[in-house]
């Protein structure tokens, strides 16, 4: 098996033209310059958008986090109060713990389900097209709408789920899925996220699976590898860049969780499903303390950057 190495694809570089065929240096320079200018021109719209809607707000949030920032009126510098107050905020501590717990559970759950689905529909067979579409379809529903849909489905008052389970004898009496207990509240949110995002992650993983050349599998089979060995030693190593990408997206998405808890559980019961972004929302829009909200956002951003640097580092090294 050790003879199997990942194929080096996409690395073909154009060969340098022979020296004699090159135009004189002066022309070369001006041509290069105009090419660079054209490149810059093409990149301008994106650069403007990124600058306006990402860099400027980013700098502004950093700047806000150093101030007491009223909704109207002039801000006053209060560095480092907004940051030191994060430690005093008990809600932040419980939200950090919950967000980390949710991220771990969600990433593992979502990855297992998405990878499982991808393996299930990897081969071209009858009905696979239908299954692929069916798994991806929830992606077409907006996340907030999907959360509301689940709120309705899970509601004891108006939803069919509790009635159905009562008829089947699984549950007895009144059950509140979204706020009855912290476990069921977290469980309902996780089922919602699985339903909504498993198909999308399946699609990315499927692309990775299909990029593995069949010859490698054939070679493994000739070498006498079992199914499990092929999966362990061929599929997983060759999928590493895709897996890293999917995991990065899952972890980032989970750390920034908001909609599902805001709509489905409202952070309850007893603050047990209050995510970090919900705390930022509370600081900004309920307490109207924009400086404090900005400081927590900056801290969260720092954590995300660290995570992404590590993960992208792994991604680059392996690919």
């Amino acid at each position: 098996m050790s003879t199997l190495t990942p194929p080096r694809s996409g690395k073909a570089r154009p060969l340098p033209a022979p020296e004699a065929a090159r135009p004189p240096k002066r022309f070369r320079r001006s041509a290069a310059r105009s090419r660079a200018a054209l490149g810059a021109l093409y990149a301008t719209p994106t650069a403007v958008m990124v600058g306006l809607f990402f860099l400027v707000p980013l700098v502004l949030v950093g700047w806000m986090s150093l101030h007491k920032w009223p909704l109207l009126g002039a801000p006053t510098m209060n560095v480092p109060d907004n940051y030191t107050r994060i430690a005093d905020n008990e809600l932040v501590a419980s939200a950090v713990w919950f967000t980390v717990k949710y991220t771990v559970l969600m990433t593992v759950g979502l990855f297992v389900v998405a990878f499982g689905l991808a393996l299930l529909v990897q081969q071209r067979r009858r009905g696979v097209g239908f299954l692929r579409t069916a798994f991806l379809l929830p992606m077409a529903v907006g996340f907030a709408s999907a959360s509301l849909l689940f709120l309705g489905l899970l509601s004891d008052e108006i939803g069919p789920l509790s009635d159905l389970l009562r008829k089947l004898g699984v549950i007895d009496g009144y059950v509140s899925w979204t706020s009855g207990s912290s476990e069921s509240a977290l469980g309902s949110a996780m089922v919602l996220v699985l339903w909504r995002f498993a198909g999308f992650n399946m699609l990315i993983l499927l692309t990775g699976l299909q990029a593995i050349p069949l010859e490698v599998y054939e070679a493994a089979r000739i070498d006498g590898a079992s199914r499990w060995q092929t999966f362990r030693r061929v599929t997983i190593p060759l999928m590493r860049p895709t897996i890293a990408l999917v995991l990065t997206m899952m972890i980032t998405g989970s750390l920034l969780a908001f909609d599902q808890f805001w709509i489905l559980t409202r952070g309850g019961p007893d603050n047990s499903t209050t995510s970090l972004v919900m705390v930022i929302y509370r600081e900004a829009f309920i307490r109207l303390d924009l400086g404090s909200a900005a400081a927590i956002s900056v801290a969260l951003l720092a954590v995300l950057v660290v995570f992404n640097v590590i993960q992208l580092g792994v991604l680059r090294r392996r690919s």
Binding site: G51, L55, G73, A74, L91, S176, S179, G267, D270, R287
Partner: protein, 429 residues
């Protein structure tokens, strides 16, 4: 090349930032007509924002005003929970509407943040200052200045199902006179069995509990907050007694099991179902429940051993601080406080007038329940605190945690710990 690009980027970012900061720091332009205290009716288009709960009243005001005035008011409403965030974003963008209403308990926060224009002189000149609901007026006051005036009044009362009262052998014309009697009535009705429950409350909703439980605390002579809204008093004996009564009803299964998880949205629906014997709720729901064919009686909310009170809620309204049509907006507000509007728009539709001098009017006498509701205004309270929303109404508030503990967990510890946490939240800058 690279360093030059970076420098250019840095300069651009800095320039944008300076512009943004300068814009944020700039004083608001003097609104035209801001110097006079009279209203101006010159055909201006005015925008009014309100929350969904009181939308119908704002719309009724606007419709009647538009018929008789050149100014035209357009009402836009937002879902209750999203409304504070909507206002905060609009304020941050300096794009507040000409007029906006707010839950009266949030008014102090908006006044302190300067989201409303100062109406002190205008209100003093109007001669209405002593005639409107003092609780609402106080709520919109910050540093001795008036920023908001009363808009709608909604009070908490006991609402009971007359048919279920008759079935349970109770007198449908006589509601309970104390919280203990309320519990007895609820127990009797619960014995009817089937899907009928004795009572119902919003056990996962800070706002619902404060609106319906606090009057019992006040009725017993206790209090929840100090006058400045900086210290909580929820660890009192009165509070513990009130929670104790509701807790027993839940434990015995007299309160519907869904009471534990009721976060607000299905509260009205539960009462409209006709399966609940008696429950405290907003007075404005009387009509909404009867619309569904459920005959309702009204009684005051009282302390464990008697003593009536009510939570005087509703909305306060002011002129958006960034509005350039303050004089026209004031014209609308002046009109809404007039006898004409209060009697022909509010009282005619079975509402409670915001004018204390119009509590008894030609429409109120027709329905004895309305007379009762109006008479409670004098006995009720409107709590005042700058950080009210963050401390009591928000799902992440320390009050909701206290409520959950007091009703379903370690009651004594929750009230003691809750008092400390709520006080801390109230005092936060």
């Amino acid at each position: 090349m690279r360093s030059r690009g970076l420098r250019a980027l840095a300069v651009t970012a800095a320039a944008l930032l300076v512009t943004a900061v300068a814009a944020c720091g700039a004083d608001d332009p003097e609104a035209p007509g801001a110097s006079g205290t009279a209203g101006v009716d010159d055909g201006a288009q005015l925008t009014l924002w309100t929350r969904a709960a009181t939308e119908s009243v704002s719309k009724a005001y606007a419709e009647a005003y538009n018929k008789t005035h050149k100014n035209k008011v357009t009402v836009t409403s937002y879902p209750n929970e999203e409304y504070p965030a909507k206002l905060a974003s609009a304020a941050g963008a300096k794009a507040l509407p000409d007029l906006f209403g707010a839950d009266v308990v949030f008014a102090a926060q908006y006044a302190s943040q300067g989201l409303w224009t100062d109406l002190t002189e205008r209100l003093a000149a109007s001669g209405l200052k002593d005639k409107v609901s003092p609780g609402h007026l106080n709520a919109g006051t910050w540093d001795g200045k008036n920023y908001a005036v009363p808009h709608t009044v909604d009070m908490s009362v006991m609402l009971y199902n007359k048919d279920l009262y008759t079935k349970a052998g109770l007198d449908p014309e006589k509601g309970p006179t104390s919280l203990k009697e309320f519990a007895e009535h609820a127990r009797k009705i619960d014995k009817l069995g089937g899907d009928v429950n004795g009572t119902y409350f919003g056990g996962n909703c800070g706002g619902c509990v404060e609106f319906t439980f606090w009057p019992s605390v006040w009725g017993a002579g206790g209090d929840v907050l100090d006058a400045k809204g900086e210290n909580a008093k929820v660890d009192s004996k009165e509070m513990a007694d009130v929670f104790g009564i509701y807790r027993a009803l839940y434990d015995e299964g007299v309160a519907a099991p869904a009471s534990k998880d009721e976060a607000g949205p299905t509260w009205l629906g539960a009462l409209q179902s006709g399966k609940i014997g008696i429950a405290p709720g907003p007075s404005v729901w009387l009509g909404l429940i009867e619309e569904k064919g459920v005959k309702m009686g009204v009684a005051p909310i009282s302390g464990p051993d008697g003593g009536d009170s009510t939570f005087i809620g509703g909305d306060a309204i002011g002129v958006g601080a960034t509005s350039t049509k303050a004089a026209q907006a004031w014209d609308f507000l002046l009109w809404t406080m007039s006898e004409e509007a209060q009697v022909e728009v509010i009282a005619k539709n079975k509402g409670v007038p915001i004018r204390t001098d119009l509590a008894s009017n030609k429409y109120s006498a027709a329905d004895p329940r309305i007379v009762l509701i109006n008479s409670l205004v004098a006995k009720g309270k409107t709590p005042y605190a700058k950080n009210f929303n963050a401390s009591f109404n928000d799902p992440q508030s320390p009050w909701l945690q206290t409520v959950r503990g007091a009703l379903f967990g370690d009651a004594a510890k929750s009230l003691t710990d809750g008092n400390t946490a709520i006080t801390k939240s109230l005092q936060q800058g």
